[in-house]
Assembly symmetry: C2
Amino acid sequence: MIETPYLLFLGEAPDQLAAKVAQGIKDWRPEFAVGQFRMDGCKADMKLTDMTLDEALEAGAKTLVIGVANRGGMISHEWRHVLAEALLKGFDLASGLHNLLSDEPELVEIAKAEGREMHDVRVPEVDYPIANGKKRTGKRCLAVGTDCSVGKMYTALAMDAEMQKRGMKSTFRATGQTGILITGDGIPLDAVIADFMAGAVEWLTPDNDEDHWDLIEGQGSLFHASYSGVTMALVHGGQPDALILCHEPTREHMRGLPDYALPSLEELRDLALTLASRVNPDVKAVGISVNTQHLSEDEANSYLADLEAEFCLPAVDPFRHGAGKLVDALAAFD
Amino acid sequence: MIETPYLLFLGEAPDQLAAKVAQGIKDWRPEFAVGQFRMDGCKADMKLTDMTLDEALEAGAKTLVIGVANRGGMISHEWRHVLAEALLKGFDLASGLHNLLSDEPELVEIAKAEGREMHDVRVPEVDYPIANGKKRTGKRCLAVGTDCSVGKMYTALAMDAEMQKRGMKSTFRATGQTGILITGDGIPLDAVIADFMAGAVEWLTPDNDEDHWDLIEGQGSLFHASYSGVTMALVHGGQPDALILCHEPTREHMRGLPDYALPSLEELRDLALTLASRVNPDVKAVGISVNTQHLSEDEANSYLADLEAEFCLPAVDPFRHGAGKLVDALAAFD
């Protein structure tokens, strides 16, 4: 668990997109972001107050979060200098970079001497159990996709935000590095040892109030030859009551697999329900979430209306239209 | 890759069952077993020549393989003494124990000084790639089960042995620790990082002659809530042409999951074909392998005859009847 609130470290981000972790925190957990720290040449701006380390400490920040992807995969001399100073001043550090903070001897030494935590969120910090498949209390909603990167995390975060607004009981459960940095907690599922994947998901989504919903971040796709095993563990470990089917209608092939066409939403629905019913016979598909960024407003509306007619399920692009209809489906769930 | 042949270390095995790794090597790769090393009180006997370390070296042994499970999960003082001496005399070591050889500082030091290898086969020794899903040449047969521990490894080993006898081109591809120790090679799939599972299976079963069959050892079950993700990675990474459906008909619930009934062989066939067809549209179920150890000979024969009629597939217990019928199915495959 990462201590909040954060100072968002943007380094010398060449553009806004390079700082998408910081953007995610700003969008979904603005209360966690007390300010931003930018270095010379930084072109990203979260519209937060620029702060020195001291100013951020005074504003209550506990953790410096690396909110930017670095170029070349190395932690540069300049970065290391800032990170070391942050540790010395009393910050914890959190990072989702491929190259780990724990592989930086200087930072490790300072963190140890100062009693500070360094979180490499790509690396599991917990010894997860083997899954036991036992029925848990509370409700769980899992986003599954026809492909990777079709908006599963966005959908779950948007639903959680809408549910909070309505005063419903919900928790977004992060299963990837960006989600973990946004919320300060979760499991880096793709980095878990194979035998413990489903157990990690059970651990993440424990017993809860009967009217509480876990909104579980999806990973990969049951149809993706590289990552389907991770998705399978989410479906069986997550024990979902409700599935949201996620799709990007203009994609020409599976991400990273030029020889593979996307499955249809119908195939996704049927396979995901078949698999999920193994651990929860009452599971239902309750909604469809479509990333329509490459469609015009008219095209998007017409596409979604067609889906609603075909599947008898609410179909929305939560980015364009909000997640209200999907939350309505959970509110009406029985 | 573990250097062969082996001296089989049986320690003070309390009974034959405790030495099942050694038994597997003796049964399936007798040419790898030059002798056995037993300590005081050992009750297991592989019917191999009892040898000292020196005698085994003289007989050509390259690796001392720990062929026995140890009690209490510790490498005892007595074991450590033998293992250290083996390293000093020029043996490599190989072990599938939970507690690792590489966690024994004394052994690590000797191995390093002597230039010897220590193989903990529970730990991946390779950085596996991400799966790419590309069609590979050669043929692949995967054993899938209604549950864990229903005879998938045995089935694949028995088919491989029969194919070798017939002069067919085949390779048993180990995906678990016992299989790796038996054959000296393979991937410890349940210990691989989630993102790389399917890639590890692709790596294990590369391009090959068009008339060559990889017989891939199955793991877990698509219906097992704890391990289904591992099985999914095998199905997608293995890109099977042929599936063998494995079953144990008297089991009352899924192994380790008292609340879960076993699926039917029909459910297994349908789900495994649906999933495998994603990576190989021509995949077929070609045979059924049943562990009939808890049935009488008559019961077994009648059960298998019923399955053959119902599924129009050969159904055998390879332990009782050999794997001939299953191999016939591969020989007739087109």
